[in-house]
Symmetry: C2
């Protein structure tokens, strides 16, 4: 049976059997690696997860950070964890050797985040934020900035943050107000307020490095006027000493979940002495952020997958042990009770959770593999994978975030009254996952992104590549008698997607911008269901192949595992994929009620 | 604009215009009432809600009951509220004059619960539990028991509870273990443990009266062996004095939401001195409970509706004020930002919440009206309404509970990062509502109830009456040009329901019990969407009628209100009702994956 928060067997299955991570070692960039090193990495992080992170998972929630002495006092595990991350090289494992990295594939790196998030999402976040900040500096900052800040970040000594949101500015980043005034000393004077900044200013580290968006005075309005700055809490002066940088944490928020990591309000420049160091060119701040955004959004998706996975294993364990009632077909009520898992409705809820968690993980690894191929393939072969990544990132981010709310809710339902109580972990997953449709671009933003931008990328080439990938899979599925029905269904679904997409693009062509984009979220849902169905068919093909080859040599556990995958695929196609028909009806309905209706009709 | 938690205008609309509560006063039973008394009642509870209950809504969540001195120490508001309930006669307002009641219609009574729950669900629960316990005693207990316990309950002096669940027994009540041993003193000796008992043993009251299910020693196994007892914490002795009754509260649970009201573990008979007083006949305990169950389940549904309603108004207020970005069709990013509510995706989320909340309330009032008619109509006309109540109770209970999770989640999404924070109330509604698919019969139980029992009730007569009611509404809708499309759609939906129902009943006829019942939850969802669509068409007819009649005399606010109703109806038909097509595909798919798959395929 699995660890309490993730299944090593499933990780191996996806990594080695479905996506053949070992094939990457044929390329120069990855040639020092092997199946052994990959396995060692996964085993090590699984050990960190079970020995260090999972044991404080509930404790960190019940004792969230306190705001004291102008700082967030956090759980002592944060310091220990960041140290281990630094020593293990987890924060920059995918970087080039020349940057101090280990040139690990994205597939492995993202799986590490998956394990961290599954065992303790809030704790993992400290590392993820730091890695994100370090990445931005490595990619875009000057040698001087790198020299001063980079190593401290990737060794886990200092905390990194992403400081974008302001008290009145969330999704509409182009409107932000934090200002940067040029000086003749090479730095800018930063003034303003930031909000919801995860991990900013904790007592676990001696310094915090905020990657901050601000508007240089005199810059144009809107997105073009936004620049990126390094704004540390303590700046490194010419002698290499730390100097207070006029960045203050004004307080932290009390929130629904994700409680182990504080979200902070920051004020910069109250004493007019907050130095910010420009990263890259002025006016390019949002551009730089967005170059890193794909990775951040995949991280969010993986975090949601991880929470749904851990909730699923908690529910599976409970339902396997707890007895209640008798089978529906059993009339004799004097017989002993059966485990919950014998009831079809419970099996439905478990299969639902499994299909969302493992389907979401599969897609995240699929996209990670594209990222790896982009690194190693010759220039002319990269376009395809780049377009696929762009197209699929909104799905990787949003599907597990939104479906994960339902999955963790089903985990609660599996436990009944106990699920509602804090003695069991499932209610925490339900709270923790609720942040994922909000941060790093809300679901609404993702819907506009895929419909308004991504499906038209490369003049529709992105969509063509996507459909071609799915057709490949469908062809593979036709080789197995038990998968043909599902292959047919996926084919029909692709056709539905075509009809819907054409209908919507027609609206766009007619200049009906609002009608076109109004239901981006629903379009993204339809698109996601088809994408995840594809991933399940892929897993079912691998499983069917093993079952066919294996016959006598196959271990019983493996047989059960592969059969379980095929059952889950069947579940997904019958229960989840069929939802596209309702969505398609709505999306082709020509009923622009949300565009036509004005606010006043509700405000009465 | 509305109160912060409910809209008086909508209450009046449903009560007077859609369901014509005043027509009830033509019957003898209700003849002392009038539009004025009904309005006075609603105004009074709205005042209690806004002045006493809502102000402590968040406070009671943040300072939940503590377990001290073998009791739950609760918020002082509980005592004040129960007193007001007692003085106002709210706990037994619907009872006959002869029982001390006011003969108020169910419609009014349930609306009182709605207002209490919308302003402060946890606080309202104390009263609801007490009313439920009092109802059981009034209906089934002996004059001696009534004499000792009834008045103390309905005056709010003592707390009532429903003590069903045990540590290992939840949905499978027939298996419960608490025992009752007959004595020759007229009482039974109770021994056992109960779990998740809301409101049992708090310091707000001097005594708690538990309505407890237990098995008399020697009684048959299963449901037939269960009897109902009054098991007070302090029993009333022959001299009318209170005597400790060997009932102990061992602790309270820490839970996801609904935190203002404790759920307690009880141990009875540790000193072999716990007296229980048999209510009614031995072996009839579950039967009595189930006679009250309809009311309890309507209460749960109304509680969920109330939480979704309050969350909706919080979201509406925020989205009306907070500015962010520009309209999708606006290219000029230097223009001022617009309120969130200008964005179609936000309008979609608000309409979704409104359609669930007001659709759910409409159905609850519809069923309440049936209950009122059962009270006053001659015997031969009652069957229809009794069957309709039986059929629709699973929908009244489950639809707002399940859809309400999505509605409150959408409320969080409307507020973005702020929605995730405890400064705003929406995250609490999301937590509070999550109990509703669990208590008073889980969604799984409701699904089995409607599919396995209710649709076949009276040899299918229940379904015939239901369809006839909807056809009436459809006929009414055809009179309005703007409603004809929706009338058509509802007609088609009824046909889908027929096809699905026939398919499933065929499985039952073939003896495939598990295949038949496996997807009860999905069937209930499909059934619910059609039911709520019917309720929206009903509201749209009333609104269209007013708009047609009104023309010049209509106040602008009324016009906006009625138009808003029609927009919401359009929303529901296009976004929600269309979901039945995916559900129907699944339900008629002959893919029994959740029946076929055995546990072992997941446990690997």
């Amino acid at each position: 049976m699995a660890e309490r928060f993730a299944n090593r067997k499933d990780i191996r299955f996806l990594l080695e059997e479905v996506f053949d991570v070992n094939s990457l070692t044929q390329y120069d960039y990855f040639k020092d690696h092997s199946a052994d090193t990959f396995n060692m990495v996964i085993d090590t992080v699984m050990k960190m997860g079970s020995e260090m992170m999972y044991p404080v998972f509930q404790e960190m929630d019940k004792n969230p950070p306190r705001y004291e002495d102008l700082q967030a006092k956090v759980h002592p595990a944060v310091r220990v964890f960041l140290d281990e991350c630094g020593q293990g090289g987890w924060l920059n494992a995918d970087w080039d050797y020349t940057d101090g990295g280990q040139q690990l594939p994205n597939m492995i790196k993202f799986l590490c985040w998956f394990v961290f998030s599954a065992s303790n999402y809030a704790l993992g976040a400290y590392a993820q934020l730091t890695a994100g900040a370090a990445n931005l500096i490595r990619e875009f900052a000057s040698p001087e900035i790198k020299e001063k800040y980079l190593e401290k970040l990737y060794t886990g000594k200092w905390q990194g943050t992403m400081a974008l949101t302001e008290p009145d500015i969330g999704s509409s980043l182009g409107d932000l107000m934090t200002s940067a005034q040029a000086t003749d000393q090479g730095y800018y004077l930063i003034k303003g307020k930031k909000m919801f900044i995860s991990g900013a200013d904790t007592d676990a580290v001696e310094n915090t490095v905020n990657m901050m968006l601000a508007r240089i005075q005199g810059a144009p309005a809107g997105a073009k006027g936004i620049s990126l700055f390094v704004v540390p809490k303590y700046r490194v002066n010419e002698e290499g000493k730390l100097e207070y940088n006029d960045v203050n944490c004004d307080g932290i928020e009390h929130k629904l979940g994700y409680r182990g990591c504080p979200i902070c309000q920051l004020t910069m420049g109250e004493n007019n002495d907050c130095h910010g160091y420009l990263v890259g060119k002025p006016g390019r701040g949002l551009g730089y952020m967005f170059q890193m955004m794909n990775e951040e959004r995949i991280n969010v998706g993986i975090g949601a997958v991880a929470k749904a996975t851990a909730a699923y294993y908690a529910a599976l364990e409970y339902c396997s042990q707890r007895k209640q009632g008798r089978r529906l077909s059993e009339k004799d009520q004097s017989l002993p009770m059966v485990p919950l898992i014998e009831h079809p409705d419970i099996k439905r809820m478990l299969l639902m959770q499994k299909s969302i968690a493992e389907g979401g993980l599969s897609l995240a690894l699929q996209v990670s593999k594209y990222l790896d191929l982009i690194k190693v393939l010759p220039e002319e072969e990269r376009e395809k994978y780049s377009l696929l990544v762009e197209l699929l990132v909104p799905v990787v981010k949003t599907y597990p975030a939104e479906a994960g709310i339902l999955a963790t809710s089903a985990a609660i339902q599996c436990l009944g009254g106990y699920g509602y109580c804090q003695d069991f972990p499932v209610e925490q997953y339900f709270r923790d996952i609720r942040i994922d449709p909000i941060h790093e671009g809300t679901t609404g933003i993702q819907g506009q992104d895929i419909l308004g931008r991504k499906i038209s990328l490369g003049n529709g080439k992105a969509m063509q590549y996507f459909v071609a990938e799915m057709l490949d899979t469908i062809e593979g599925a036709y080789k197995f008698a038990n998968l043909q029905g599902m292959a047919d269904q996926l084919l029909q679904s692709i056709n539905e997607l075509r009809v819907v997409t054409t209908h919507l693009l027609d609206l766009s062509a007619q200049g009906k911008v609002e009608e076109f984009l109004a239901d981006g979220v629903l379009y993204l849902e339809l698109f996601s269901l088809i994408t995840i169905a594809w991933q399940w068919l892929l897993q079912a093909i691998t499983s069917s192949t093993r079952l066919q080859e294996g016959s006598s040599a196959l271990l019983e556990n493996d047989r059960l595992f592969y059969e379980g995958k095929i059952y889950t695929c069947r579940y997904f196609f019958s229960y989840e994929l069929n939802k596209i028909y309702g969505l398609a009806k709505r999306l082709t309905s020509n009923e622009p009620v949300t565009v036509e209706m004005e606010a006043k009709f509700l405000q009465v």
